[in-house]
């Protein structure tokens, strides 16, 4: 069980800057994110796209912004728990008890939800039957590639994940690659490689096809794929892999008893606390009259929410307002060295 002043859910720009603000006022925090890397949407959706509306930064990419934020919170040695999604929260007296899907447990008086539009999850096949076979014969990621050895593997998708795994697995498995259109959006080198492997007979490619049925009793033996023109083909397959990118889902947050407005959490604008004491929401996931879904708004919200946490974390102390330019104690927390 990890004890901390604040648990921040979400390692996007808003969560990162909020961690900075917590550090500035002397509160400890831990950060949890479902992705395998820090940066949230900035890293997952647009690492190379320029952003033009961060105050005092005329232009930067999602990746640069993330790197700068990581640099800015270095003095606080914050622990990140990546690949973890918060599943359950429970309140006992003044503390929240939190458990992630990987079994990490936290005890804290404060939770700040900076979850963007939810956690990133793999997009799945729309065919209902697929659920039954998930993790057995249908997969959305590859954890152990040896399980596909000497099998017929049908891979769906046209991006880098689909192409990379088609290439990688083709050395030990029979690969069938299926994509909904003729163009593949992966990098050209991978597209070329796949085409070359097709010529060598190692990969079979079907384009303008989508999954239409699963065949077999209790076990997939064949799958049906349907062409744009309505034609259906039946092909043998032992395993089916789908790589359709990620979607964002609120997931377990929906069940925590928070006041929700569609996919957002209602907060007050004084300290961005929700209807539950000690739970705050900031960034894209929060809503209030006039809410703007901009990164700069998330920074502001995080600064106020951090201060809102203080009363629960240090009930017997009073928070003093201090500037980083002049406060000795803040500069100590930042590790600023002065030679005077």
């Amino acid at each position: 069980m990890i004890n901390t002043d604040v648990l921040v859910i979400g390692a996007g720009p808003t969560g990162l800057f909020c961690a900075h603000q917590l550090g500035i006022i002397g509160l400890k925090c831990e950060v949890v994110d479902n992705l395998d890397k820090i940066g949230g949407q900035c890293i997952e959706l647009y690492p190379d796209k320029p952003i033009y509306d961060i105050p005092a930064i005329p232009e930067c990419t999602g990746e640069q912004l993330t790197n700068n934020l990581i640099e800015q919170i270095k003095p606080f040695n914050i622990n990140f728990h990546l690949n973890n999604r918060v599943e359950e929260i429970k309140k006992d007296q003044n503390n929240w008890f939190i458990k992630t899907n990987k079994g990490i447990e936290f005890k804290t008086p404060n939770i700040i939800i900076a979850g963007g539009v939810g956690s990133f999850e793999p997009r799945k096949f729309s065919l209902k039957d697929c659920e039954k076979f998930e993790g057995k014969q249908i997969f959305y990621s590859v954890k152990d590639k040896t399980q596909f050895k000497n099998k017929t593997v049908c891979i769906f998708g046209g991006g880098d994940s689909a192409l990379d795994w088609a290439i990688e697995l083709s050395s030990n498995s029979k690969i069938i690659l299926v994509h909904r259109r003729d163009e593949f959006r992966g990098v050209q080198a991978s597209v070329d490689k796949v085409k070359e492997l097709e010529k060598q007979g190692k990969i079979e490619i079907f384009t303008k096809y989508q999954l239409s049925s699963l065949e077999g009793e209790g076990e997939i033996k064949k799958i049906g794929i349907k062409h744009d023109d309505g034609n259906i083909k039946k092909i043998n397959a032992d395993c089916v892999l789908g790589f359709f990118g990620l979607i964002m889902q609120l997931g377990p947050i929906l069940k925590w008893g928070l006041n929700l407005d569609k996919k957002t959490i209602k907060v007050n604008t004084e300290n961005f606390e929700t209807n539950l004491d000690g739970i705050f929401a900031i960034g894209d996931i929060c809503s209030y009259p006039g809410k703007l879904k901009l990164i700069l708004s998330g920074f502001h919200e995080g600064a106020l929410a951090a201060r809102g946490c203080f009363k629960y974390a240090r009930p017997n102390e009073k928070l003093r307002f201090e500037f980083t330019t002049t406060s000795k104690s803040v500069q100590n927390r930042l590790g600023v060295k002065k030679d005077d």
């Binding site: 949407q41 959706l45 647009y46 539009v117 939810g118 997009r123 729309s126 998708g157 046209g158 991006g159 994509h179 909904r180 259109r181 163009e183 959006r185 989508q210 744009d228 359709f244 990118g245 979607i247 964002m248 889902q249 996919k263 879904k293």
Partner: protein, 106 residues
């Protein structure tokens, strides 16, 4: 103002006057049409404003920009007449446009 008709997956139609210059997605969000999520807010970074354009309209629309087709790969049940509604800007040319909404967006 142009008339845009959104047909929910269950068949329920909504005809709305949308100001020229807004996207078909924004028209739906501002009028609380169920079935369009628009998680990313119109930056072509998700595929949750996916619509099916009525056949006779499909060829009249401005062509897809780079990236829209890539995002559509990730949409729920994309078809030949799929578009991202955030990329369809309402103008007099689009007056009368009808789009159908998929069963779900994610």
């Amino acid at each position: 103002m142009s008339k845009i008709t959104y047909i929910e997956h269950n068949g329920k139609p909504h005809t709305i006057e949308v100001s020229n210059g807004l996207s078909v997605m924004e028209g739906a969000i501002q009028n609380n049409i169920p079935g369009i999520d628009a998680d990313c807010g119109g930056s072509m970074a998700c595929a949750t404003c996916h619509v099916y354009v009525k056949e006779e309209w499909f060829d009249k629309l401005p062509k897809k920009e780079d990236g829209e087709e890539d995002m559509l790969d990730m949409a729920y049940e994309p078809r030949k007449n799929s578009r991202l509604s955030c990329q369809l800007i309402v103008s007099d040319d689009l007056d009368g446009l009808t789009v159908s909404l998929p069963e779900k967006q994610a």
